[in-house]
Structures are given as C-alpha cells and as structure tokens.
Symmetry: C2
Subunit: 128 residues, 2 copies
DNA sequence: AGTAAGAGGTTACAGGTGTAAACTATAAAT
DNA sequence: ATTTATAGTTTACACCTGTAACCTCTTACT
C-alpha cells in the first residue's frame, strides 16, 4: 500500500477527503457538487483528478447508471503513511525525536501536555 | 521563509543535507565528492540541483576561485516547517492530535514514553 | 423540435522534477 | 604539446501536477 499512498498529490487529497467523509461510495454528481462548492475547480478538473486517482489504484470507479467512486485507501492509512514518512525523512525514523522536537518548539501547551500525560499513563498500564 | 522551504524537493534535500552537515560554506568539489559517494548522481545532476536551490533562494553561491555554496535555510527551519506543514495538512493544525495518533499507533514504546514524561515535567515547570 | 444540464471521453498546456549529456575553459600531469 | 580532471554554462527530455477546454451522448424541460 505504501507505494500507492505516496503518490497522492495535494489536489488529489482534496478529492480523497470528500470520499473519506462519505462512508462507502459516492456518485460523481455528489462529488462534483461538494467540490464545486468548496473550490473553484471546474467539472473537468474534478474528473481528471478522479481519473488519476483511479489510475494510481487508490480509488475504485464503479459503473452503474453513472460512475460511483470509492476510496481504496482509508484516511487512517493515509495519515499513518504520511506521518511515518515525515518521521523517516526528517527525524531519522524516531517518533520520540519528533515529539521532543514539538516540545522544544512549544507546539504543545501545558494543557496539551496534561492531556498527553494521562494518555501516557493508560499506555503504560496496557502492555506490561 | 515559509515559501522558500516549501519548494525544496526530495532530491534537493539530499543536497541540503550535505550543506547542513558542513557548517558554513562548501566548495563545489567537496559537494561533488560527498554526493557521488552516497548516490549515483552525475556531476551535472548535482550542478542542476544546486542551481535550482540557488534560484529558489535557499542556497547562496559564492564565487571564489571556484563556487562555494552556503545554505540560507537551516535544517532546524526546514524541520520545523515540514513538521508544521504535516500538522496543518493532516492533523487539523493540532500537534497534540499528532502525538495522540503516534501513541495510538504504537509508534512510541514504553521507554520512549518514559523519556518524554520527564521532558514534560521540565516543560511544565518552565513557564508558570 | 430545440435546448439545457449532466455525464463520459480525449486532449491540452505551462510549470515543476529527476536525471543528465554536450559544449567550453582552465589547470595540472605526462 | 597532449591528455586528463575539474569547473562553468546551456540544453534536453520524459514524466508529474494543476487546471482545464472540447466534443459527444442522453435525458429532461420548454
């Protein structure tokens, strides 16, 4: 799967988001309506993006009266992939490193830290 | 700066890494030697990448007997930018969200968590 | 019957990227 | 003087990306 995900471009992700939000498959009309509302894309642009996503194997086109589209990669998979990719490329593969960096750069405020601390507690109890 | 950083491509980052590792500026010869050892790039490829980096304004070319190159964007800035970019694009701008996700996906083992916990303590004392 | 609106398919086109060859000049080595 | 190695400059080229137009077909509306 890794290969597939890596090739989703910025514009294409916008389309994926629409598919992810709708559980299951969506007819082209709905996709158009949603995207034309939130962007300035023309119909043909949307069509091109969907076509490319299908070609990349991350979306399936289902032919009924009209085409329906379904994501073959979940948002979770996408998130996990891009995150891991950042960790590998920028933090020498160490997630801890990334978190430490967030702390160092004040990306987490005290409130965040409080919440994470409880999360950590739960984790610690879980597998030992 | 943000704009500059965002335009550094994958291949180009490889070149930046070399410049980052050497504090200060590096003559073209050194850059070549290092990159030709760790990659299969030809001289002209390396030259093209350096030229593009200069055009993008993230590297400075200094003419002496021979060109020397110096990064205008630090590795820290680059890391911070790409990290923030991931957070914005994938975690709705919430760093806490990202960390929670790492925990959920078991990217942090107990040992990591132990270390982070101490980090958190320090942070907590710091600004209150 | 004629037109509007949605759908499918094909083609376009500029700018970015990865990767490099081809010239030219110069200095060092034989 | 000739070769060799390095540097600088220009040009190439296929593929990817963002964005879209254009043509054709069907169906519903006037």
């Amino acid at each position: 799967m890794s290969k597939l995900v890596s090739k989703i471009t910025d514009s294409e992700v916008e389309v994926m988001r629409v598919l992810w939000e709708a559980e299951g498959e969506l007819p082209i009309g709905d996709i158009r309506r949603i995207l034309e509302k939130n962007s300035n894309w023309k119909r043909s642009t949307i069509k091109t993006l969907l076509r490319r996503l299908c070609k990349k194997g991350v979306v399936l086109a289902i032919k009924k009266e009209v085409f329906y589209y379904k994501p073959l990669v979940s948002e979770r998979e996408y998130k996990e992939y891009t995150t891991q990719s950042l960790i590998d490329r920028v933090y020498s593969g160490s997630a801890k490193n990334l978190v430490a960096s967030l702390v160092g750069n004040k990306k987490l405020d005290n409130h965040d830290i409080e919440e994470l601390r409880s999360l950590f507690k739960v984790e610690d109890n879980r597998d030992e």
